[in-house]
């Protein structure tokens, strides 16, 4: 195991009774990377994070944080991590700043140091004016920011975020992205789960798409999209019975296609000529756009509703 690997998962399996939440995943995260775990609900993302955070025993396989087996050295491993959970678990009996100070004590950080860090972090996340408020007086976005501040109080080597921006408004989402990018610049390793593809493309230099407890694909998001999908997508509203006819006249072009409901998706490396051709043949009801991570995600995990 090389030294700069912050997290290494080796063939992790996790069963809850008869259901298999994680089914043999392996990955590793290098220092300074921002690694995104993507996948539909129930894919096993949160379980994976819980295992890294020593909150869920592994059924089989091994998980290392900074070279330490999390099952043998949970306390040491947890000291190196900061966690932003999906469900808010701030301490409602304490004020905003006290939440940070009490949390700092769990890491044996001195009083003076804790006070300095708390002030710094509250400023960093625009919460300083709220420092004496009670948790119930905070909005959802403020709570999320406080959770991030709390996760940073021990100056972690690894910051773990479980769906950091779910349910937040766009302004706040962008603010949090900015802060995360700043942290990344300062060398912190980030592991996040998300099902916002834009979030992953904005922040992550490495992603893994999970479904049904397995990793389907792993790599740099831009490269993955280009390789798997192509550069551009043309969405065409066209009836099913006219599809065959169209595909025959497009025979000379190089593209892949997929139908979902009333829409035919054409994936191509260079769509300009294809679009011109379509318009000249009266197929004007179309949308031409660059391909995104979302296309890849949907291609891999299926477009049907996940329940």
């Amino acid at each position: 195991m090389s030294k700069d690997k912050m997290i290494t998962a080796k063939n992790i399996k996790k069963r809850y009774g008869k259901t298999i939440a994680v089914n043999g995943i392996s990955f590793s995260i290098s220092k300074g990377e921002c690694y995104g775990l993507l996948g539909p609900n129930g894919a096993g993302k949160t379980t994976t994070i819980k295992i890294i955070n020593c909150l869920s025993p592994i059924s089989s396989g091994e998980m290392y944080v900074c070279g330490m087996d999390v099952e043998i050295f949970p306390r040491k491993a947890k000291a190196l991590m900061g966690v932003v959970p999906q469900d808010e678990n701030l301490d409602p009996d304490l004020t905003v700043v006290k939440n940070l100070l009490v949390y700092a004590r769990y890491f044996e950080i001195s009083k003076k140091e804790a006070r300095n860090r708390a002030e710094e972090l509250l400023k960093f996340l625009n919460l300083y004016e709220k420092k004496d408020s009670l948790i119930k007086e905070l909005s959802g976005g403020m709570k999320k920011r406080l959770l991030i501040a709390r996760a940073l109080i021990n100056k972690p080597e690894i910051l773990i975020l479980d769906e950091p921006t779910t349910g937040l408004d766009p302004q706040l989402r962008h603010m949090i992205w900015q802060r995360l990018r700043l942290l990344k610049k300062n060398g912190i390793t980030i592991l996040m789960t998300t099902h916002y593809m834009e979030e992953a493309s904005q922040l992550c230099n490495q992603i893994a798409i999970m479904d049904k407890g397995k990793i389907l694909i792993e790599g740099n998001p831009l490269k993955l999209v280009e390789k798997q999908i192509g550069k551009e997508v043309i969405e065409l509203r066209i009836d099913r019975d006219k599809e065959a006819e169209l595909l025959i006249i497009l025979n000379d072009f190089d593209f892949a296609h997929e139908r979902v409901g009333d829409t035919l998706y054409l994936f191509s490396r260079d769509g300009q000529d294809l679009v011109k051709f379509l318009i000249s043949h009266d197929y004007s009801h179309l949308l031409h756009r660059p391909s995104t991570l979302e296309d890849l995600f949907l291609k891999l995990t299926g477009r049907g509703l996940k329940e």
Binding site: Y16, N53, L55, S56, P57, P74, R75, K76, K78, A79, M81, V83, P85, D87, E88, N89, L90, D91, P92, D93, L94, K98, V102, Y103, R105, Y106, F107, E108, R150, N154
Partner: protein, 262 residues
């Protein structure tokens, strides 16, 4: 079965959880104290003077004198029991405070032990106040130096009932369960621990049952300190209570761990 008695992972960091509870208590202590003390003080004077008015003496002492030592123990029992059922259950489920804490270097064992220590501290606070009431009412007949072992006893009773309450918290599917715990586990002790009347006139099997209750031993010891009728035989209660406490703590940590870590 074996996993319930597994050696728990408890460290000195349990103190950090105790500190957390202390910090949050500072905001609510007034309401909290009135709740914890109102009832035993009413029992002391209500029954002590009310029933005591009809009894010339019980076991050679005024009735209020007879019930006072047991009521210190009852206060300790209920303070710890409330804290580690309703209080701990709220921190574990609704507030998810436990989940926040175990994401740090603390273990489940630290969290549970911290809550148990805190429950015992609350017993010590309310037990001490009860003792002050008893001192003021001039019901402390033993030498004042006996206050020290008496407070140690209060703390041990606090630890015992906190850890027992923690087991109830681990097994409880909802708050409703605690009303069973209080009426089926604690109320029988309240009546049969020899607080309000000597057990001598009960059928033998009830007397035997009463000696299985930890509170009975606590009440006997408390009475020996408060009335001054102290014999070293009374000290036998300490190892019994401590032994039970250790078993309950081990079981509590393992059960809570099962509930949280999945």
């Amino acid at each position: 079965m074996k996993s319930i008695f597994k050696k728990p992972d408890i460290s000195l960091r349990a103190y950090r959880v105790w500190q957390r509870n202390k910090d949050s208590y500072k905001r609510f202590y007034r309401a909290n104290l009135i709740g914890a003390l109102g009832e035993p003080i009413m029992y002391l004077f209500g029954m002590g003077l009310g029933i005591g008015g009809y009894l010339s003496s019980l076991e050679g002492m005024p009735y209020i004198q007879f019930i006072a030592p047991g009521l210190i123990m009852v206060t300790a029992m209920y303070s710890a029991s409330f804290e580690c059922t309703f209080g701990s259950y709220t921190r574990m489920t609704g507030q998810k405070t436990y989940h926040g804490i175990i994401a740090t270097p603390l273990s489940i064992g630290d969290v549970v032990m911290g809550d148990i220590l805190w429950g015992a501290t609350k017993s010590l606070i309310s037990g001490s106040i009860m003792l002050i009431v008893i001192l003021t009412a001039n019901l402390m007949k033993g030498p004042l130096i006996y206050i020290i072992p008496l407070l140690v006893l209060v703390f041990i009773v606090g630890l015992l009932f906190s850890s027992m309450a923690m087991i109830a918290t681990a097994l409880s599917p909802s708050y409703d369960f605690f009303s069973y715990y209080f009426t089926l586990a604690l109320t029988p002790m309240f009546f049969l621990a020899g607080i309000f009347f000597p057990l001598a006139k009960f059928p033998l099997f009830i007397q035997a049952l009463a000696y299985l209750f930890p509170l009975t031993h606590a009440v006997n010891m408390s009475r020996s300190f408060v009335t001054g009728n102290f014999s070293f035989l009374n000290l036998l209660g300490f190892p019994i209570l401590l032994g039970l406490t250790i078993i309950f703590i081990i079981v509590a940590v393992n059960l809570i761990e099962k509930k949280i870590i999945q």
